[in-house]
Symmetry: C2
Subunit: 177 residues, 2 copies
DNA sequence: CAAACTGTCCAGAAAAAAATGAACAAACCG
DNA sequence: CGGTTTGTTCATTTTTTTCTGGACAGTTTG
């Protein structure tokens, strides 16, 4: 077992006994904050915990420390970090004399947002467009009377879709600081 | 039991037997589309089904019809319609000679978005700000060396928060057509 | 090379979210 | 009124999502 070498006095190391490690108030606030944000984006809370703790950590942390401090299983930590890496929300850095990967939070919001949009939002917009096209095709078989209402509504749908699509680049530009 | 009086030949009524009522292709596309959208917003799929069917229905539909066509329990239908009403995504209209409420979809996107933001997004932003303030307060007790990193990060957090906050009115303006 | 270490993956367990259906309240009807 | 229809609420069940922990593969080390 590796010696506990964290330097942050406000991030208490595990107590003498093998009991649950404690988190500082600052860490708890950060974790809560990011749990909220992450859940809003539809991701599991463990991901928010990981990012929250890394966000306030003054030093890079290896997975083992994250597991210990957050009382989280190896599986969750590994999967969560993988997800965070895939969004560019977290990266690994080299730490001299330690074979393990050490993680630090990335603070560049725009990269995260851009990856999130590319990975989660855009596919939805695309499949939505497909559906709209299919619906437009389907109503061709309707009698004129029926077609009117349906056509009118599909026009609106297309309108929504265009708005959504048009907003994406704008949001990205807005977030680049 | 009330006679089935839907007029849309593309929205087949229940078959002669008591078997599962069928949905037209158009209805299925619409429902799938809105299930996707609604889940993206973190709401249960039943809500998407309800809105999807109402979106393409040429006539107002009572809850009973929605339940039958979607194979959905009374409880889910009632709760889902309540939620949709609360966002202004759906409203009831009077239908002569029928005591039941009849529902139609609202097509005004901006009202829905504004209610969604007010109800879901803004509270998160508010509680986030509270947390940031609390964190800023907590780091006052740190020694100068520790405080630096933390302060730097909190500045970034504030920045993110301001961006999020600033984007809300812009999105609303964008969606008003 | 064997033993120890690090991290991934995935089947099963646990927790969380959503759907069900029956009890209930309210409105209507004769 | 008593009976019926309509819709809401909520305790329970079902479904879905998330977490866990061990098997495993790849590396490093003595």
């Amino acid at each position: 077992m590796r010696a506990q070498t964290e330097l942050d006095s406000h991030a208490p190391a595990a107590p003498a006994s093998g009991a649950a490690p404690t988190l500082s108030e600052l860490e708890i606030e950060a974790i809560d904050l990011f749990i909220g944000l992450i859940k809003l984006l539809g991701m599991p809370k463990s991901v928010g915990e990981l990012y929250g703790l890394l966000f306030v950590s003054p030093t890079p942390l290896p997975m083992e420390t994250l597991m210990d401090r957050l009382n989280m299983s190896k599986g969750s930590a590994s999967q969560g970090l993988k997800l965070l890496r895939s969004f560019g929300a977290v990266k690994t850095v080299y730490v001299a004399g330690d074979r393990r990967d050490h993680y630090v939070a990335e603070f560049d919001l725009s990269r995260f947002a851009s990856n999130f949009i590319k990975g989660e939002l855009q596919p939805h917009l695309d499949s939505g467009l497909e559906r709209i096209k299919r619906m437009e095709h389907l109503i061709q078989q309707f009698t004129p009377g029926e077609r009117d209402t349906a056509e009118n509504r599909l026009v609106r749908l297309r309108h929504w879709h265009e708005k959504g699509q048009a907003m994406v680049p704008w949001i990205l530009k807005f977030l680049v600081s």
